[in-house]
């Protein structure tokens, strides 16, 4: 069994069989999500679901027309939350990781542990104090309240620290010898060099913000204007029973941006997690 070389025909055949089987098992839920939104419950609620049934856009029309949580403003809110959190994570994590790796930071190890420990803090344990605190700032009903507690993130620091540490020390030494200061090194050499890792964090952070749903609910009090898309999908569920088609249509709508991101951001993600990526 040789790796990274063109394998023999037997190995190839085995590879393809395994991959196809795995793909069928792992991707059927994705297929069900994508097609289910176009099927009436009469096709879905049978064993197995009839994925070649009576195609209709009724569920999508229903999802888009629902007015309990109008989709468009919710979409805007989700986008705002995703983007702001993404940018904030990038800035705060880059700077902190830089200090941890390249600066002679006092208490470096305890500080790193502190960052790491924040990842372990269960969100449920701190959400109530946070809500009280953010409210006491008097911004309870502005969009800013949606993102304020999430501007810094321990995982981002961790991720970039790992990436920065894999930055070849020769390049760092060369830059220092050339008289390159910290800012110039950070912005002209390190960040471009670690672009993939940055991109990976960007995608991850966006997903975190996009998928958030309990916080908007707790923090917004007066109206629906702070609801995110995740809440909108909740609104599609019927109290007493479920029309799977409608639910799947709603899920597909919320998934669309993230699916596209994973599909087209893939290149960046792969490079982001590739060891020692330097241009």
């Amino acid at each position: 069994m040789s790796r990274l070389n063109r394998p023999g025909p037997a190995t190839s055949a085995f590879t393809y069989i395994w991959l196809v089987v795995a793909a069928v098992v792992l991707l059927f839920p994705v297929l069900l999500t994508a097609l289910g939104g176009f099927l009436p419950s009469i096709d879905l609620l049978r064993q197995p679901p009839n994925l070649l049934g009576h195609y209709t856009v009724a569920s999508y029309v229903g999802a888009l027309q629902q007015t309990v949580v109008p989709l468009l403003p919710a979409f805007g809110n989700s986008l705002f939350v995703g983007l702001v959190i993404m940018i904030a994570h990038l800035v705060t994590s880059c700077l902190a990781a830089y200090a941890l790796v390249f600066l002679r930071t006092p208490l470096r190890t305890p500080l790193f542990w502190l960052f790491l420990a924040t990842i372990m803090v269960p969100y449920e344990a701190i959400v109530v104090p946070n809500a009280l605190f953010v409210r006491s700032l008097g911004i309870g009903d502005s969009r800013f309240a949606l993102v304020l507690p999430f501007l810094a993130n321990g995982f981002g620091v961790f991720l970039l620290r790992q990436a920065f540490r894999q930055f070849p020390s020769e390049l760092r030494d060369a830059a220092t010898i050339d008289g390159c200061g910290h800012f110039r090194f950070l912005f002209t050499i390190l960040l471009p060099g670690c672009r993939p890792a940055i991109a990976a964090l960007a995608v991850w952070s966006f997903l975190q913000g996009w998928n958030m749903y309990f916080w908007p609910l707790i923090i917004s009090s007066t109206n629906n204007s702070l609801n995110t898309l995740q809440t909108a999908v909740f609104a599609l569920r019927s109290n007493d029973s479920a029309d799977p088609g409608l639910l799947l249509a709603g899920i597909t709508i919320t998934l669309l941006p993230t699916l596209l991101l994973v599909l087209f951001g893939q290149r960046w993600l792969v490079r982001g997690f590739t060891a020692g990526a330097v241009k």
Binding site: M1, R3, L4, N5, R6, P7, S12, T15, L19, A22, L26, L27, F28, P29, T33, L44, Q47, P48, A88, V91, S93, A96, A99, V101, L103, R108, T109, W113, L114, L116, A117, M120, V121, E124, A125, I126, V128, P129, N130, P149, A152, F155, V157, Q166, P168, D173, T176, Q230, L247, L248, T254, V262, L263, V270, R271, F273, T274, A275, G276, A277
Partner: protein, 338 residues
Amino acid sequence: MSRDDLSTERDVSAMSTVSNTTFTERPPDGPVTLTDSGSVSPSVISRWNPRELLLTMLFLAPAVAGLGAFVIFPLFQAVYLATMGSDILGNPTRFVGLQHFAELLTPDFGAVLLRTAGFTLIVVVAGVVLPMALAVPLSQRLPGMRVFRTLFTLPFAYSASAASVVWLLMLNPAMSPVNWLLQLAGVSAPGWTTDSGWALVTVAGVTVWMVSGFNLLVLAAGLAGLDEQVLEAARIDGATGVRNFTSIVLPMISPSLFFVIVTTTLTALQSLGQPQVMTDGGPNGATSTLVYSIFNQAFHNNNSNYGLASAQGLVLLIVGVLLAAVQFGVIERRVHYR
């Protein structure tokens, strides 16, 4: 897998001074571990330069302020809350000392911890092995590998609730395509969410599915970044098959592997959406993990027992930090950074 994407990285890594003597040991220039005080060439930068100290403060300030105000400060409040009994609205009204912690010394909470351990173990083991079993064949030079890789990462896009809802449909006794397939194979489907033995496995399985996309991506990237010259040299030395994989490939992708293990552990410990949506902790508590229990005490069924929830939250924090300590203290020493 596209070679264009990755050729640059491999060239660079071939350039860099990787020790090719033995890969289970640290390379001569040494990985930066937690216990190392210096990072890069200590000779170049002088110690405690005031200007640099200022810069350090400046760089750390945003992250420390953000996390301090919204994670660490509330955590102290949680410690305080854990010693308080609350009224029906969740206001801390009376000091109860360690009563909430004493309430944790019950067989019930022991079962919660055990369940959490089982859940985490399943998710971490399966959530690393499965993507690895996909990433390794995907790293071969075969047509179509890039398409497969792209498809396999799609579950990464799902939020916990979206994944749970879709999988509930996949396993719903009325329509389950999974049960249908099993039936074709002559196997009668288990009660995925009704059988207490299966429920935890089901919920863990969905979590594995969710993390598999991201983990595959990281591991595939790690494999793609392998130094082919080293592999070639190993091959000449006669390393083949399983030995090749465990003694050469695994150590070389150990940073990716380590990263995947750490993040999957975290995900597993904090998985709430899956038990909440799929089983609501049932049947009869069989999928009530630590984080579900916290949610249940604090917000579910009109509970607002923030004291007990905070105490459990602190337990989760301690468990998480202990696991991290083990992972960073033990595993990371074996990790081969360039």
